[in-house]
């Protein structure tokens, strides 16, 4: 459904923001940018303040008891209706695909997990696929390349939405990198257990980014960006990492406390 301008057709529908614990602690600017973009397209943003972590690090490392406790809290924290939007493909994929695994032996929680999973969206997915946004109305400018986070691309199947949005920003010169869908090496607990392999993968990712000559590398997942940014900052490469939400929010957000 195409939006018009100002108040969108979903203006009266409240959107719940799942800001993610990672962005909350390390890049609050990403959360603010997400709110700004959602409000630009008419959403009334609700922020359930007792939310914490979706439990993915525990789930991915096989610690299901702890993951289940966090998943249970998540499912009880978010309201029973309306879309839940998050600036993370990975966290959305965890709720959508991980929770049904965690609650496969608990029919009532499973039903709730599925219902919540059906209402959760990553930001670009929500803007393009649900709101029908074609012009994000961002004044951001610069040469940008995009890294497909594994969980956004393969977990949620979101490939074109972020690209459509980036290409629609007049000031953005969008350039694809080679192997944009190759894992950056983060993998959460993987990067702690096997840091050398992780780094090897990150180095290859950064090489591909540098080849494009872009001034910014963006993605729909903060985990990837913190990882890629960690290597870039250590070496001092002339490229900035910036979350997709910050580019969509525009110049002011982009200069803020980016990752």
């Amino acid at each position: 459904m195409p939006y018009t301008t100002g108040m969108g057709p979903f203006g009266s529908i409240p959107v719940s923001l799942f800001f993610t614990c990672l962005a909350d602690a390390f890049s609050p600017g990403v959360c603010s940018a997400t709110v700004e973009v959602l409000e630009r397209f008419g959403a009334t943003v609700r922020v359930p303040l007792s939310q914490t972590c979706c439990g993915q690090p525990a789930f991915n490392s096989g610690n299901r008891k702890e993951a289940r406790a966090m998943a249970r809290k998540f499912l009880l924290t978010f309201p029973d209706d309306g879309p839940i939007v998050t600036p993370s493909g990975s966290c959305a994929a965890m709720v959508k695909h991980g929770y049904p695994v965690l609650f496969r032996d608990e029919p009532r929680m499973l039903a709730r997990a599925r219902a919540v999973g059906d209402r959760i969206y990553e930001l670009s997915q929500y803007l393009v696929d649900v709101l029908g946004v074609t012009d994000p109305k961002s004044d951001f400018s610069g040469k940008v390349t995009y890294h497909d986070s594994c969980h956004l691309r393969r977990g949620l199947g979101v490939v074109s939405a972020p690209r459509k949005l980036l290409r629609a920003v007049p000031g953005v010169e969008f350039v694809e990198m080679e192997e944009s869908d190759r894992c950056c090496g983060f993998g959460g607990v993987f990067s702690v257990k096997y840091p050398q392999i992780s780094c090897k993968m990150t180095e290859r990712k950064v090489e591909r980014i540098l080849e494009t000559g872009a001034a910014y590398v963006t993605s729909g997942d903060l985990g990837c960006l913190l990882n890629i940014g960690g290597l870039i900052s250590r070496i001092g490469y002339p490229v900035k990492v910036i979350h997709l939400a910050e580019i969509l929010a525009g110049k002011a957000a982009g200069r803020g406390d980016a990752v």
Partner: protein
């Protein structure tokens, strides 16, 4: 094969420092992956074929006993002798007995991963048989005294210079960097073996239940020569390789070469059905089929059943960024890459290989390419959960997880910790990244910075800006 799966971390670090290996890996995996992608792109029916193949395999697993009984019946009808081995020790015993009873002193062997599972060569050598690997890659690593590092390209880790040096030392051949030259040398030496061997040993890509055939998919012709020239043929095949009908074979032949090497069809597809009949110009007088259970029935009974759909194409290795970074050897057993990280713990027991399921970022590239749709990332996750259940996790990890889950129970506690972290982080790093974290996170910051926590977390910021309301 000696099991070293739990040394994955140490051996992976070694592999990362091996410059020759790194070059070889980049070339081979890159080439395989590019060829596979091109072949799939040029084959619009790929998805539909994949779906069909997955369905056939699922049906096979649901009725494995029936299809196996049919296969054995049909193969025996055509003169083959079928043996079933419960475990590796029994398989070795059967193979050695076959060799002794048939009076074999020299055997030529084509590539077979299943034979690596049971250390077949050692068993045959114990029975007085000289075993010569006849697949070029296997021949190379046999000369080098190494083990395969890739399911379909066992010498993927070797450069042509290393191979030429091996041929110089073991075969007395002059040094060359010409690939056809090297192939010619191997062919010359192998040809004599083919002509004098009493037994040909092969694996089997498929067992066809309604005809009792063993199907071999190869590129070098060694599989065909080894099953046709010697008087005895021994095929060593896992029980899960059975397919119901000859009519199902084309479905798999469309997928396997494309997924493995990017070929529309392999150079050779050999369908070996029984012994030589009266009037046949060639073929073995005796055919033994050794079916391996070796842990497969146990897998069949559990939640990992679908891993038995695997056709051993190696596509998941080529696309895996972890495999691309360290190669096959660190996986420490027969199978490597994502399929190895799942299959090895299931075949040898999780305690012996618990390091492998952790060796993945869960990026999902493997599930995307698998021609029979094995949910490899889901299985890796499941195995990690099994590791916790079976008490295989370190007390440190469990304590850390409990602590983290405890904090995440209460948003207020999390916010307090974030704020303290924010103040300390900003104070010590001036808003820049953290250059060195303590153990167990020290590896993370060896070559990367870790971000400093923000001074004002979002939750607090929101409360200040918009008031403490939901």
């Amino acid at each position: 094969m000696e099991l070293k799966a739990n040394a994955f971390g140490r051996n992976a670090r070694k592999a990362l420092l091996d410059k020759t290996l790194q070059g070889a890996l980049e070339r081979t995996t890159g080439r395989f992956q590019a060829h596979r992608d091109a072949a799939v792109a040029a084959f619009p029916e790929f998805e539909a074929t994949r779906e069909r193949a997955s369905g056939i395999k699922r049906d096979v697993l649901d009725h494995l006993d029936t299809y196996l009984a049919r296969f054995i019946e049909e193969a025996e009808k055509r003169g083959a002798i079928v043996h079933v081995a419960r475990d590796a020790a029994q398989a070795r015993e059967i193979a050695a007995r076959i060799a002794r009873n048939e009076g074999i002193t020299l055997a030529v062997k084509s590539k077979s991963m299943a034979s690596e599972e049971i250390s077949l060569n050692e068993a045959l050598q114990g029975a007085g048989v000289t075993v010569v690997e006849s697949d070029l890659g296997e021949y190379i690593i046999q000369l080098a005294g190494e083990t395969p590092s890739h399911i379909i390209a066992p010498a993927a880790h070797k450069t042509r210079e290393q191979i030429s040096r091996l041929f110089e030392r073991h075969l007395g051949e002059p040094r060359t960097d010409s690939i056809p030259g090297l192939v010619g040398m191997a062919r010359k030496h192998l040809r004599e073996k083919f002509l004098s061997a009493g037994m040909g040993v092969s694996g089997g890509n498929f067992l066809v239940a309604d005809t009792g055939s063993v199907v071999l998919v190869t590129n070098e012709g060694n599989g065909r020569m080894g099953t046709v020239l010697p008087r005895v043929h021994l095929a060593v095949v896992g029980i899960e390789k059975v397919i119901p009908r000859m009519a199902d074979l084309p479905t798999f032949l469309r997928l396997l070469p494309r997924s493995a090497t990017g070929q529309a069809i392999s150079s050779y597809v050999s369908i070996v059905t029984g012994t030589r009949r009266a009037g046949d110009p060639e073929g073995p007088d005796r055919m033994h089929i050794l079916l391996l259970d070796c842990g497969r029935s146990a897998i069949l009974e559990g939640k990992y059943r679908e891993v038995l759909k695997c056709v051993r194409c190696g596509a998941c290795l080529n696309c895996c960024p972890v495999y691309q970074s360290v190669g096959g050897h660190p996986y420490g057993w027969v199978y490597s890459g994502p399929i190895g990280a799942v299959l090895t713990p299931l075949l040898v027991g999780l305690p012996e290989a618990a390091a492998l399921p952790d060796a993945s970022t869960l990026c999902g590239a493997c599930a995307d390419v698998c021609p029979v749709k094995i949910p490899l990332p889901d299985f890796l996750l499941e195995l990690r959960a099994d590791a916790r259940e079976q008490g295989l996790k370190t007390p440190g990890e469990i304590a850390a997880m409990k602590g983290y889950a405890g904090v995440m129970k209460r948003a207020g506690l999390l916010e307090a910790i974030e704020r303290i972290g924010g103040v300390l982080g900003q104070f010590f790093t001036k808003g820049k990244g953290i250059g060195g974290l303590p153990y167990p996170f020290s590896g993370w910051t060896e070559r990367r910075d870790f971000p400093a926590p923000a001074a004002l977390p979002f939750r607090k910021r929101w409360k200040i800006q918009r008031g403490a309301r939901d």
